[in-house]
Amino acid sequence: MVTLSDYAGLQPAWCPGCGNFGILKALNKALVELEIEPHQLLLVSGIGQSGKLPHYSRGNVFNSLHGRPVSPAIGAKVANPELVVIAVSGDGDGYGEGGNHFIHAARRNHNITYLVHNNQVYGLTKGQASPTSDAGFVTKTTPYGAANPVNPISLAIVSGASFVARGFAGDAEHLAGLIKKGIAHKGFSLIDILQPCVSFNHKNTFQWYRERVYKLDDTRGYTPGDKKAALEKALEWGEKIPIGVIYEEDLPVYEDQLPTLRRGSLVTQKIDPKRAEELFAEFL
């Protein structure tokens, strides 16, 4: 039986009160409830405060470069589809530096789960604007206010992601449910997580979010299978911010389309140099 103690990692070095604690708690809870053992799990992170999360949980860990966690996560998933692969990123990491990988991972529908700690500010480099900072957000690098933000939810939907959700670090219980659904979903699952930064974002605080977020699960008549309705929901931001599964669809999964993987994972396939001889005839 898997318990929370299996997921007790290193002591976090995050600021006291950081939204990341809620995410860590929710992730560990989801993993325990899904009875995934740490050795079956691969956590791939990038750089930023989010990038440290895998060290504070437990599992196989590949802490990669800034903006790149999605790519090594895909490489590992293709090599060994048995692994539960979760890429962990932040708004600067995933939507700025790694924006292109995000779009194409969604489009190809790789079977990985993508958690993005979205605090709308750069934490590790101390308070600069991020791609999701609200328009007008004044920081040292945006003295005249930040430009329009990226909308990760609508971007994911139009890029072809088959599971798009938004969670809130201040509601770990709800977030754990979303992470469980994301892991269970076959295909690329984005979970954008509203994560208050207590040190550098004094606008989008716990309180600011608490006053605005509402759960889609409670909204009567909302079904995440309708792309148009999902896009409409994705555009809601300001007075009311929806959290929950915004879009979900069964789409062909990249790894399932590869005939090679139907015979088993790449890591278990034998190396036989002599077989190359079968190719010689075409050159003779």
């Binding site: 050795h39 437990r58 860990v61 790519s71 293709v78 060994n80 190719l279």
Partner: protein, 570 residues
């Protein structure tokens, strides 16, 4: 009399230059000849001027020569732009009804290529095959060999039949119509040889070495590797992912390598620019990855469809910080196969990035080689974690060892947790800022170079061990320099060749020794500044006495080297 015969096929993109060139190479390879062929094309899909040179010999050849014996000119440019390559004995096959004012006299053999294609083979698309048939008649070659190759190439059916008819029409017309001297190239049964490009040799090497994963983004001249691997992936249990960019390509390959399979990517110089960040990630996470850099002239887009050896200093120094890497540069198409096999072994044994430096010339030229002896392919996956030796809970991915090599475990294949980080990390793989742990990890990684240095091959010496003049080359120029050495030695000069196909870790002692005895030492490189000369200086403290450099995007010919060496003095 040794046979050394050169065909050239010239025309615009879309006229079938490539297919006639390839078929010519193939029919002579089938007839027991050694063949070397290169392609010169522009970065466009239609129009322009393209040509394909095919050298046919009774002995091993690996370079192109300047003089053309038979030129198949599918357009006017093919005649006008190649005047310098024509000799008094050259024959030019052309269509006098299309290319006027050339006249049909002496060595210019005009024949109605297009008309024959339309009348005998059902369409002017077959014009190139008519010319091919004519060329074979001019050397009295067995047309049956071509017919068999055409059926294999196009598959049984209408297209093959039309091509056979076209070839026969051209052959018959030339046999009766051509009044000049026929130089016989008879098919002689000999050992069966493979005809393949450098990229095909690399692809076969990767498959033989057990590469299971490739991720890449198309870029000339590397693209045909990803295409070949993709085509064979199902049959050979591999996956090839066409990524959104080169950044994703190298990062995915590293992810697959971390997960436990042999993984590679392939690109050219400016694609490698995008991979530089990932190179360092392979370095610090100690993840095996093989990177093929098929060089082309830079900087930036440079000359997209031409050749250069301009990336040596770049791949040597790419990324910040100190970490080990290996750099290999195949000398010939045959060597490309073996170098690729070695690259995969070293990448895993030493857990580092291995860069294979080829170039457009090697990547896209064809050569005949004996079928690779696969019993000589060894697979060395390096030190691996074993549950028999260690409790999974005790496993440390980056354990500090004397050799610098820490046994690898693979995620999910045991209970051992495999933790690694692009940040500096402790032995377990978790990020650390501890000064002692940082120092220990850097030293551990660099120690891997000692082992690798023991494995690096000594440079090849061609000719006598000691000579007055030593020519020094690396990578794809080997055959051209070797032939230049032969020519110069026949003239009585004391010349040898020191050639490197394993460049890093640098075999400094051997190069130092060779430089110590020669009066003259000239590097011969396809770049503008003598990048190998700089490496030699850095590693041995010695200056070469001269540099023979070519950076016009075209490959060296033996004659070019001979002339340059004579000018420098030998």
């Amino acid at each position: 009399m040794p046979v050394d015969f050169n065909f050239m096929v010239g025309g615009e993109a879309g006229q079938g230059v490539q297919s006639v060139g390839f078929l010519l190479a193939k029919v002579f390879a089938r007839g027991g000849y050694h063949v070397f062929a290169d392609q010169d094309y522009e970065s466009r899909i239609r129009g322009g001027h393209n040509f394909f040179r095919i050298r046919v010999s009774k002995s091993r050849v690996g370079a192109i020569t300047r003089d053309v014996d038979i030129l198949i000119a599918l357009n006017r440019d093919s005649i006008e732009l190649h005047q310098d390559e024509l000799t008094d004995d050259s024959v030019v096959i052309f269509d006098g009804e299309k290319i006027m004012d050339i006249g049909d006299n002496g060595n210019f053999f005009s024949m109605p290529l297009e008309k024959l294609a339309e009348e005998e083979a059902g369409g002017k698309l077959m014009t190139n095959t008519v010319a091919l048939g004519a060329a074979l008649a001019l050397v009295d070659y067995d047309l049956e060999i071509l017919n068999r190759v055409l059926v294999e190439h196009f598959g049984k059916g209408k297209i093959a039949d039309s091509n056979i008819a076209a070839a026969r029409a051209g052959y018959e017309y030339a046999r009766t119509g051509y009044k000049g001297k026929v130089r016989r190239l008879r098919a002689v049964p000999d050992a069966e040889r493979m005809l393949l490009t450098g990229n095909e040799a690399i692809s076969l090497g990767a498959i033989a070495a057990g590469c299971k994963f490739m991720s890449a983004y198309p870029m000339t001249p590397a693209s045909s590797i990803m295409e070949y691997i993709a085509a064979k992936s199902e049959e050979f249990g591999m996956v090839m992912v066409h990524t959104e960019d080169e950044i994703a390509a190298i990062n995915m390959a590293i992810g697959a390598g971390y997960a436990g399979v042999r993984a590679m990517t392939a690109t050219s110089g400016s694609g490698f620019c995008l991979m530089v960040e990932g190179l360092g990630m392979a370095g610090i996470t100690e993840t095996p990855v093989v990177i093929i850099d098929a060089q082309r002239p830079g900087p930036a887009v440079g000359l997209p469809t031409r050749t250069e050896q301009g990336d040596l200093q770049f791949v040597l120094h790419a990324h910040h910080g100190d970490f080990p890497r290996a750099i290999l540069a195949p000398a010939t198409i045959e060597d490309a196969f073996w170098v690729t096999v070695r690259a995969f072994n070293w990448a895993e044994k030493y857990q580092l990035p291995v860069i294979v430096l080829t170039d457009h010339h090697l990547a896209s030229s064809y050569a005949t080689v004996n079928p690779f002896d696969l019993s000589q392919v060894t697979i060395d996956r390096g030190l691996l974690f074993s549950e028999k030796e260690l409790e999974p809970a005790e496993y440390l991915r980056h354990r500090v060892t004397k050799s610098g090599i820490s046994p690898r475990a693979f995620p999910g294949l045991s209970k051992a947790l495999v933790v690694t980080d692009c940040d500096e990390h402790d032995e377990e793989g978790h990020l650390t800022e501890d000064a002692g742990e940082r120092t220990a990890q850097v030293k551990k990684r660099l120690r891997k170079m000692f082992g690798l240095k023991q494995e690096i091959a000594q440079p090849q010496i061609y000719g006598h061990q000691r000579a007055d003049t030593t020519l020094i080359g690396w990578g794809s120029t080997y055959a051209a320099i070797r032939e230049a050495v032969d020519i110069l030695r026949k003239e009585g000069a004391s010349v040898n060749l020191l050639h490197l196909n394993e460049l890093w870790p640098f075999p400094a002692e051997a190069v130092d020794d060779a430089l110590g005895t020669a009066h003259n030492s000239y590097v011969i490189e396809s770049n503008a500044t003598g990048q190998l000369a700089r490496l030699i200086k850095a590693e041995t403290g010695k200056d070469v006495s001269g540099k023979i450099l070519k950076f016009d995007g075209r490959p060296f010919t033996p004659a070019y080297i001979v002339e340059a060496v004579r000018k420098e003095g030998c």
